[in-house]
């Protein structure tokens, strides 16, 4: 094999590129890595580096009713959000791709505006409305507010999945003897299964991770996991927070990885 001699200029560019890539990776990964490291601290206050190591934080967490309640509250809100958001995403996707609805192009844009509008601005707007409707510090109110944040993700997933579905698939199924409904369930719905999964997971995570709306609309009644962390760091730094954050990171990464794996495996 012949080696092409590189000019010093090219060499400098390659080195610079490597440095930038390395710095980016460090910048992105250092904070979570430190959190994970700190969660194994054996101390009762936050210090770096910890003088001793162990599972002290995790044991404390397992025995803390406050934190277990927070986790349970988060799950109770996130599950209905995942279901609602997925159903709305599916419906909106169908309206965009399968109907002759007037203004369906505008729908796909309107559906993702919650991604563009700052969450705090949303929170203020929703607060005014919910105060009138008596939905502040209310379970239904929390679910509705989180669903609004999650719907764009579900919509984007269904939108892209449906635009990749060829309409000919259903047509050919019908020529082969399937009724319209049989073609829809045996082909289209079946091909959308991974999208249902991805939508539910990402909507769940959107709610599970949400720390702004819960502060505005929770009325202090709802202590979800992010809200608990927020309060904990406000009143002093408890190393237990690092353990919770580590669990949050692990759950998020695992769910996202599973979703990606399923989608990759079932892709046509």
């Amino acid at each position: 094999m012949k080696r092409v001699a590189r000019s010093t200029g090219e060499h400098a560019v390659a080195t610079a590129t490597r440095i930038v890539v390395a710095l980016t990776v460090i910048f992105m990964l250092l904070p979570p890595a430190l959190i994970v490291l700190l969660s194994f601290s054996g101390e009762d206050h936050l210090a770096f580096p910890p003088r001793s190591w162990g599972f002290r934080q995790y044991l404390a967490l397992a025995n803390s009713e406050y934190w277990l309640d927070a986790i349970w509250t988060s799950i109770k809100i996130a599950v209905p959000v995942a279901i609602l958001s997925t159903l709305i995403g599916l419906g909106a996707g169908l309206a965009i791709h399968r109907s002759r609805l007037h203004g369906r192009g505008a729908l796909s844009f309107a559906g993702i505006t919650p991604l563009i509008v700052p969450v705090s601005a949303y929170a203020v707007a929703i607060y005014g409305l919910f105060a009138k409707l008596g939905l502040i510090a209310d379970f239904t109110g929390m679910v509705i507010a989180h669903t609004i944040l999650a719907v764009p993700i579900s919509l984007i997933l269904f939108d892209s999945a449906m635009s990749a579905l060829k309409p000919e698939l259903e047509l050919v199924a019908m020529t082969l003897g399937a009724s319209r409904r049989q073609a829809w369930t045996s082909i289209t719905l079946r091909l959308l299964m991974p999208t249902f999964g991805a939508s539910a997971v990402f909507a769940f995570l959107t709610s599970f991770d949400e720390a702004v709306l819960v502060n505005f609309l929770g009325g202090g009644v709802f202590v979800t996991l992010p809200k608990g962390i927020f309060d904990a760091v406000r009143f002093g730094v408890d190393p237990l927070v690092a353990a919770i954050a580590t669990i949050l990171i692990a759950v998020t990464a695992a769910l996202a990885a599973v979703t990606v794996a399923i989608q990759r495996r079932t892709r046509a």
Binding site: K166, L169, L171, A173, T175, L176, G177, A268
Partner: protein
């Protein structure tokens, strides 16, 4: 081609808003015939296919398949097989399950379905591919699976919508042979839609040429190619020289015309509209100077080797407004000339065709 009518279009019309996609379309296809619908895009051929498959309902007229009116039946009730250009295989099913898909709606047991699907795969020469997924096959193989899937339900008619359009040339030629072979082995009626005239000529028993939603030519490939019924058909096959002509004396069975300064009789009625003479490239002789024919001096500008034939592009030295004339002569005949040579071209009057340039 057999004589029994298998499929009849009777006065079909389909409009989208104010645009007529198909209008006044009448056509009878024999049982077991391979008929090609040929036309440029937007000529209505795909709309016709959709109405045949049941994806669209005609605004007017009726479609009769084996004696049964199917124009308003849902696709599942028609027993019509369909092959799309981009295969439309079900990505989540294996090859064998794709082929067996239609059989589950025909009340067949699992073993029976598998068996039938295996036989269909053998028919398209894909034995042993049953357990694979469509994405693991090449384009040509995927199209074979699509054909096997459509044939598995034993359709009364197999519809193919530009099925080879997504394949490269070599594969296309192979698949043309394959489709002809399948058609010979089965007695199913095939309706084949294409915009590729070569494909239509190679494959079909008969070709139906469409233009702006209307049938403008119908016949066996050879007769359409050699005796195009109109200037549109001649242009569409892209092989004919169109010569401007002046009618001197119109008539029912004989028309006196003037072309290239010569006056002569054409043994046919006077066409309506603007008349034009069609000179088939292989009817033009090089070197000979025919008395009872049109004659032209021309400079050979280009010579292309086409295998059995040499195609010359010749620029007339007089009557230059004609533009270049295409001539095709067998390789090794006297009609082979070099680029830069000035040659005598002639064509017998009785090889010319007088048609309307609508």
């Amino acid at each position: 081609m057999t004589g029994t009518p298998g499929l009849e279009f009777k006065g079909i019309a389909k409009r989208y808003g104010s645009i007529a996609a198909v209008e006044g379309f009448d056509l009878t296809v024999g049982r077991g015939e391979l008929l090609t619908l040929l036309g440029p895009s937007g000529s209505g051929k795909t709309t016709l296919l959709k109405m045949l498959a049941g994806f669209e309902v005609p605004d007017e007229g009726d479609i009769i398949l084996n004696g049964r009116s199917i124009a308003t039946l849902p696709p599942a009730m028609r027993n019509v097989g369909m092959v799309f250009q981009h295969y439309a295989l079900f990505p989540h099913l294996t090859v064998i399950d794709n082929v067996a898909y239609g059989l589950r709606y025909r009340g067949q047991g699992k073993a029976e379905r598998r068996d039938k699907a295996e036989r269909m795969l053998a028919l398209v020469r894909l034995e042993g591919y049953g357990h694979r997924y469509p994405r693991q096959l090449s384009g040509g193989q995927q199209q074979r699976v699509a054909i096997a899937r459509a044939l598995a339900i034993e359709p009364d008619v197999l519809l193919m919508d530009e099925p080879l359009g997504a394949l490269d040339r070599q594969l296309r030629l192979e698949m043309e042979q394959e489709i002809r072979r399948l058609h010979h082995e089965l007695d199913t009626t095939f309706i084949y839609v294409t915009h590729d005239q070569e494909e239509a000529l190679t494959l079909s028993d008969r070709v139906a040429i469409m233009r702006s939603g209307k049938l403008v030519g119908l016949g066996a490939p050879r007769s359409l190619y050699e005796k195009p019924p109109s200037a549109f058909v001649a242009r569409f096959f892209g092989n004919s020289n169109l010569l401007p002509v002046e009618i001197i004396e119109p008539g029912g069975g004989k028309t006196r015309v003037r072309c290239l300064g010569m006056e002569f009789d054409m043994p046919c009625g006077t066409p309506g509209g603007t008349p034009v003479l069609i000179a088939n490239p292989s009817a033009i002789e090089v070197g000979a100077s025919r008395q009872n024919g049109l004659r032209l001096h021309a400079l050979v500008q280009d010579a292309v080797f086409l295998g059995e034939l040499i195609q010359l592009t010749c620029m007339p030295t007089e009557h230059r407004s004609l533009g270049p004339v295409t001539v095709r002569s067998p390789v090794g005949s006297a009609g082979v000339a070099r680029v830069g040579e000035v040659v005598d071209l002639s064509i017998a009057f009785d090889r010319l065709r007088l048609v309307s340039d609508e």
